[in-house]
Symmetry: C2
Subunit: 240 residues, 2 copies
């Protein structure tokens, strides 16, 4: 893990860009010394890790007392696309323009992204936990499909906040039953691209005894800011 | 409004029993001087106003900085039952024992309770707002059916937290569309006596632009304590 830039922000948070092999990432840590719990903040493929609303969430988490890390996983954000990724995205655009069903294309596209993202997140987690300022336990926040697989294979994930705003492949819908860590499941009630019933069924499927659903009126990008604060408090209950 | 007892609790909260005509009530106020926002905490007919978990919620709200008031409305808690109430409850018990549908009985029983409770809550609100230590704005917390009617007819209610744990008569399901104040709608995902889909449909029906659903795994009485804290923060966003 090599830090490539470092910036002290006005809320005292230290923001550092890093690379880990081909993986570009950002780590935000609070002013406080000493190891703090870590939150892996995964965004879906549609947004680069530098997107304003992701950075705002990460900074808020760090100001609250967590180390927050994000990466652009393979095929996501500003990472180069494979020919297969390019083809799948072209197929998706074409099907959406034509008003055709997109589930099969998404199954293949997102399934492939999950397969590649999860190992990268695990390598990143290994590297982050070697830093003296990063402790545990470890939480996960964001992209549901990657989070389900990561929580299923990675015992170091102690709690997770999922944003139910993207397609979840069949394999991860099945894996949801194996997930038993505390969950906060966040849903936009009128999310244009995500059928509400499918999200509610997924919430129902998780095996966790402590699982909470938060739903707010509005479309995909309309999540109110107080949900970021609720997320921090959720992690406070389970990581501290 | 006549105060009949007064007790300073160890968290500094002042707990006072009162009567207002035939209506018995309790008011909890914080240590701080000066008028504070008011929360009307309505419980459904199955619990008296002195039930431990209601008192714990009320005290927490008062310690947080609100005046919190509750009453036993007509036919609720320790109030005497009318012959019609007695008959409806007997019919309900019989139908439940026999495994028969109870919706018609609940429609009549709860509908009648709502009709009688709402005027009593409005009289209580008038009286509470004459106290120098009670200011505004006013929030409502608890029993959904009464809260919908109260919010529909009472412009002084500025925000409401509903617990979706009881039967909501047809008239209130219709009135839900008229409700436009900010809402927090709390649901137990596995509530034995309350069909989940019916509660989700009700959440969907409200006209409010700011409405949030919180659902937790577990049965009717399993709401986690952190929802009380989330409720206080919800009211902080809208009443202060």
């Amino acid at each position: 893990m090599r830090f490539t830039s470092e910036q002290r922000l006005d809320d005292g948070v230290l923001e550092r860009e890093f690379t880990l092999g081909e993986i570009p990432g950002t780590l935000w840590t609070p002013e406080s010394a000493g190891p703090v719990p870590l939150i892996l903040m995964a965004h879906n493929n549609g947004l680069p890790k530098g997107a304003d609303r992701l950075v705002a969430r990460a900074r808020h988490g760090a100001a609250y007392g967590y180390a927050v890390a994000t990466i652009d996983a393979a095929g996501c954000g500003d990472r180069p696309l494979s020919p297969a990724d390019e083809q799948a995205r072209a197929d998706l655009r074409r099907a959406m323009r034509a008003g055709e069903p997109v589930d099969e294309i998404l199954e293949s596209l997102v399934g492939s992204l999950v397969e590649r993202a999860v190992p990268e997140w695990r390598i990143t987690l290994d590297a982050l936990l070697t830093l003296p300022e990063v402790g545990g336990p470890v939480g996960y926040s964001g992209w549901t499909a990657v989070g389900i697989r990561l929580a299923a294979v990675e015992p170091r994930i102690a709690a997770a906040g999922f944003f139910a705003g993207g397609y979840v492949p069949h394999a991860q819908r099945e894996e949801a039953r194996q997930i038993t860590i505390p969950l906060l499941f966040l849903l936009q009630w009128d999310d244009e691209g995500n059928p509400r019933q499918r999200a509610l069924d997924l919430f129902d499927a998780f095996g966790s005894k402590a699982k909470t659903l938060h739903a707010n009126v509005g479309g995909h990008t309309g999540t109110p800011w107080f949900e970021v604060e609720d997320g921090n408090r959720f992690f406070a209950r389970h990581l501290t």
